[in-house]
């Protein structure tokens, strides 16, 4: 671990894409504004030069961009569809949810649909309601899709590679505010994280903080704060929501007897609701408190910094929830 190199999340993504695209000629990337600045976050650095013709700028045509992902995935290619801002998934919902999610099933298993939809998401940049959302739970609710939400750079790299090699459509959400965030990333070009494998990133005894994406960083900070209060928090980074590693969740809850689900997405109908339902269903006898959820308040993300900061979940919210379930 000590000699691991440190990369930003966007550098980790770029490295993964270079490796995969060198390995497999059927992989290509399409989306808006990809080549001039190598992506709006520079996430495709070096790719236009190294793989000419395999990173394609499209017109602003989300339905058709998504549809091109579907059609090319059905005819021998492995597309990575860059959707620019996750908020725009609404413009491709038919293609994602009525087509990509259902094609293999409706046609009786005749085909695979190896498409990755890569969506920068999340709030905190004062980009307001239509450029700040976390919409992963819509796709968890759609049978036929897989949903991946990495947190740290190593997770970005390991999970994007697995998502690309997966033969099913994967919705991959990567937080905009975390692009520049740095972290250790293994050197091994075959380093991959399987979908459906959560990680216990901080061990604890008193409460399980179950989280993903930007929520992970809130939980790690909260765990420090809780430690000062004598509460030992375990942080489980789910990493993929579908498939979900319920076994790791169960192991944690069986140890701590208390669970808090933390995500940036708004509370009602968020992934926390699904996970809380499963925990009380499958682990009821282990629980010493109700399962609590921490998420954004149920409003569109507002613009003015004071408003946005109020709406988004904070470290203090996580601490408060952990204290509530530990009755401390």
């Amino acid at each position: 671990m000590s000699d691991e190199r440190i990369l930003s999340a966007s550098a980790a993504l770029a490295e993964a894409l270079h490796e995969e695209m060198s390995r497999d000629e059927s992989i290509f990337i399409l989306g808006e504004d990809l080549t001039a600045h190598a992506g709006i976050f520079g996430q495709f650095k070096g790719i236009p030069e190294k793989f000419p013709g395999r990173i394609i700028d499209t017109p602003i045509s989300e339905s058709c961009i998504a549809g091109c992902g579907v059609g090319s995935a059905l005819t021998g290619m492995r597309p990575i569809v860059d959707f620019h801002f996750s908020d725009f998934v609404t413009c491709g919902m038919d293609e994602f949810c009525n087509q990509a999610a259902k094609i293999r099933y409706m046609f009786g298993g005749q085909v695979k649909l190896p498409m990755v939809v890569w969506c920068p998401d999340g709030a905190g940049l004062r980009a307001a309601a239509q450029h700040s959302q976390s919409l992963e739970s819509w796709f968890v609710h759609t049978p036929g899709l897989k949903v991946v939400v990495p947190s740290e750079p190593a997770d970005v790299k390991g999970l994007i590679k697995s998502s690309i090699r997966d033969d099913d459509p994967v919705m991959f959400f990567q937080h905009k505010r975390l692009f520049a965030k740095e972290g250790p990333v293994p050197e091994d070009p075959e380093f991959m994280i399987p979908l459906g494998r959560a990680a216990v990133k901080r061990e604890g005894e008193d409460v399980s903080l179950l989280t993903y994406g930007s929520g992970y960083f809130l939980c790690m900070e909260a765990a420090e704060e809780l430690g000062k209060l004598g509460i030992s928090a375990e942080v489980v980074d789910l990493r993929s929501l579908k498939p979900l590693d319920m076994e790791t969740v169960a192991q944690s809850v069986k140890k701590t007897y208390r669970a808090v689900v933390v995500h940036e997405a708004c509370i009602t109908g968020g992934f926390g609701a699904e996970l809380a339902a499963r925990i009380q269903d499958e682990l009821f006898d282990y629980l010493d408190a109700p399962v609590k959820r921490v998420g954004a308040k149920d409003v569109p993300i507002p613009f003015s910094p004071v408003l946005e900061d109020f709406v988004l979940p904070s470290v203090a919210d996580v601490v408060e929830a952990a204290r509530a379930v530990t009755y401390r």
Partner: protein, 323 residues
Amino acid sequence: MSEDKKTLLELYRTMVTIRQFESMAAEYFAAGEIPGFIHLSIGQEASSAGVCSVLRKDDYLTTTHRGHGHMIAKGADLNKMVAELFGKKTGYCKGKGGSMHIADFSLGILGANGVVAGGLPIITGAGLSIKLRKTDQVAVCFFGDGASNRGPVHEAMNMASIWKLPVIFVVENNCYASTTPTDYSCSVKDLHKRAAAYDMPGVMVDGNDVLAVRRAAAEAVERARAGEGPTFLENKTYRIRGHFEGDPQKYRDDAEVQQWLDNHDPLMRFEKELTRRKALGKKLKQQIWDEVKAELEAAVAFAEKSPYPEPQEALEDLYANPF
């Protein structure tokens, strides 16, 4: 372009197969053997047969909720089609798709679609895939006058045009989108005129003249294979049956339907042409109709004898990499 007798009779046989298939489906639907809904293409046989007659097996095709004719014309297996309509395990989709969601990827049929215009972005993707893989395949999508007003059509036509994709857009203007006449819903009556807005050739075709359809399609396919980009064909036709079987059809007169059947039936028109060319006598015609009837009866028998899927099978085929 001239057609030899073999080609002419193949075209005719395809049209007869579609006509009989759809008639059979109407009958078995009325008898309660086909669950759900079916949307028949009686009266539109020339459009399917003419276009598909110039396609290769490895060319791609997407179709619609009214897709039986396109599938048959592309070479679909009748047994598997009927079994799928009946919901049997031996159907194309193991009973999971039904009429609106049949596909045969071995024939390049990327699926029928229950979402109006759903096939256009997908076929554009197939066209992009062809270009990236540098093959000379082409990608054809069928859609209706109703579909032509949806946003994804605009996106697909623009994208196919800027990238010169080998896509052929075939709108079958059958005068009605469910209950809504084309005259009401379309800002231009001749849909092929929209093609100009995308710098693409737009061709108006008598969609009930199978040879006219074939020739227009052949030109479009040649352009596409030569890398010259997409073409938009408007096959003007008419929907003889209701939007769905059981449609009360209060939005049109029986007289209008009868007029089309009496004067513009694509089968009748082609029979006249074949007779004029001395390619089809009474005896041969009867033989073809009898042979097709026998094939369909065998397909129905196959479907009737086939088992339904086990209920648990509903949980299979969701993911290529299950977990």
